[in-house]
Amino acid sequence: MLPGAIQCTGEDTSVNRRVIGSSPNRGAKDFTWESAHRLPNLFEVNWSRTRRKPKKPHLDYLEKFDESHICRRSTVPEFHLLMFSQKATSSIVGALCFCLVLTSFCPLGMAQKKTAPVEATPPPVREDFKFGNIDLEILEQSELLDTKLERDGLVLQDEAANAYVRRIGQSLVPKGLELERVSWRFRVLRDPQPNAFALPNGSIYITTGLIFLVDNESQLAAIIAHELTHVMRRHTYVQNRSNRKKFLTMNIMAAVGAYAPGGIAGAVIIVATTVAPFILMATVFGYSRDLEREADLKGVDMMISAEYSPEEMVNVMKLLDKDIEGENIRLFYNDHSSLDERIKYLSSYLGARSDRVTHQMELNRERAAYFKTMESVMRHDLQLSISAGRFRSAVFHAQRLVDFHADSENLFWLAEAYRTLGPRSPQVTAKELTNSAKKDAAKKRQKRTLEEEERELLETPAGKDNWQRHQQKAEELYLRALNAENPVPAAHRGLGMLYEKLGRANDATSEYEKYIVLAPSAIDRERIKRRIEALRRT
């Protein structure tokens, strides 16, 4: 998934199924049963060396042994028996857990290490992958999720857009590739947040928000290639297998921690079992980052094979880095590498792989063709953005659409975006883009409704100023939309809403009435009628 991702419902996408990035098995090899036996003794040896009397009476026997006994287990069996029975049990259990943590670090020999050379990408398909019961369960969940997304009205029923995405997807899949239990489906999801995700059954979803964000077909191909790699390299299954191991380890650690004995050994176990889950979670995210890196790099290879401009993979990362709403908060751990890092390694990889730089004119042509094909999807996304309160994104994207084609409908959407933007600033300031400011804003978003936010902003001089400017701009754009060729009736509705807010009841009524006449079967006819009635009453 891409940054700012929505978490899909369903186990296969929402549950953490991450893989590790640290060096496998290091430490586990050195940490044997014998050394595990040795651990508790070290504390005791220190005591005996300093000739301090042990604090616990039952440890008195330790003074009988000197340091040399500790390692020579075979020569003093009774010592080890005593230790095992009385003191070391808990430490061994702790050590066992530690070993489990270390063994779970093993990335199934599949994830790449970050230090690996960028050229060393694995083959596109994981040939040796065998389906287990748990994988089949995930597959079943994926099929159900597909059905659910469609049933819930989240899949865009735009045949032209879906066919376009499908064509790009199929051109990227290596010719003649048949993958077990994979049937390729490429669909557009009605979500204004830029995102894409792949299900292990071969369903690839691109949100309308992402379609709007990218500039041309090659950039869309870059995203699809990335998602295709997740399916082809069976990342969901691999990650899920790895996660299950880690969850089991965490639970065992929790059990050991709950029944830890007293004393220093107990304290050590409690500390270890408290810290271990955090380490495990870090490895979960680390593994995920490695898989994302693999998907990025394999994606570039696939783009080159399908004759798309591979440098667009870097450009799409740069686009994703644009935080229009000021909502991408950097967490301590992320399942994706930072975009800066991704841009860096992709640039380095491209330097090694690409021998072709696409001419700007070619890209411009591609951009125009892309906007023409996706215009209806982009308009749909504007409606979703406004409805979701993503007003800044709406203004930004509507402006791009108007720059491309200033027809009545596009002008109407830009007017709508400005009207609903209200007292907010059209762009987030540098101060608002700091991580702490974003966190504060996220907290406020959780507390305040959009109306409350507007009311608060209108009390400030900057808010008032913004509101005035945006209403003026919106009015101007609505009028332009109405004067353009084939004017959209919805511009009358927009003007009506604008005038109603400005307190011009008569003008608002008149615009609403025009709308009802021009769009008699509009879905919001009843709503507008009631507004007219309410305005007449006042």
Binding site: E11, N16, G266, E526
Partner: protein, 239 residues
Amino acid sequence: MRLNNSVVVFRLRALILVLATVLLIGFTSPIHAQFLHPKIKSKETTIRTVVVLPAKVNVVRDSMKGPEGMAAESGEMSMRVEKMIAEVLSKQKNVTTLSPPSAASGQGDSQPNYNVADFQTKFDDLLPKIMKKRSDVKKGRFTMGDEVLNLNLEKSTDAIVFIRGEGKKLTGGKTAFTLLVGGVPAYLRLQIGIVDARNGDVLLYTDPIFGGDPTTAVDRLRKALEKGFKKLPAAQATR
């Protein structure tokens, strides 16, 4: 003063027990949490007919190896909750349930289907704000706006019911683990919002909860729902 190890361990366990009790009380208290809009309390608005929008209940199976999705069971659970809410409202509050605006046919005009989806998303956006201060429902603070009219429901519809839920079912191993070590037991928590079909005001918010396997505990679900709507005034029975 030096404390004996066994005393420390005993105190630690006692502390964990107290914390667990406090958490358990905190966990189960929302059973009675119901918040009514002043218009409902003052009987200015009475709910007689409702439309129940498709419920979104998500149940996961928690095993020792982590949570696993239960998409099919979640779907069944959603339908069961929808039906049961309609039953409870009808039997106890004389509220009639009308059919939702559209069933997804997958063909033809997709706009009504999108409309329902968008309202569901709008409620999802509002829900965290309600959760943050549920008692503000009593002040009439939350609204979805007059856009609800775009759903084009029957004119007699007074309110729209939104249902969300999350639950957890434990495997045998995890149940044993929970008993021995502790952890969240099996449960189902619902979040139900009733919204005025004319102006979008949130008229009622309730979040019934019960412990036990959510996929099998039908009676507990019914009881939790009955308690959840306890404060809602009943409509006059039609003759």
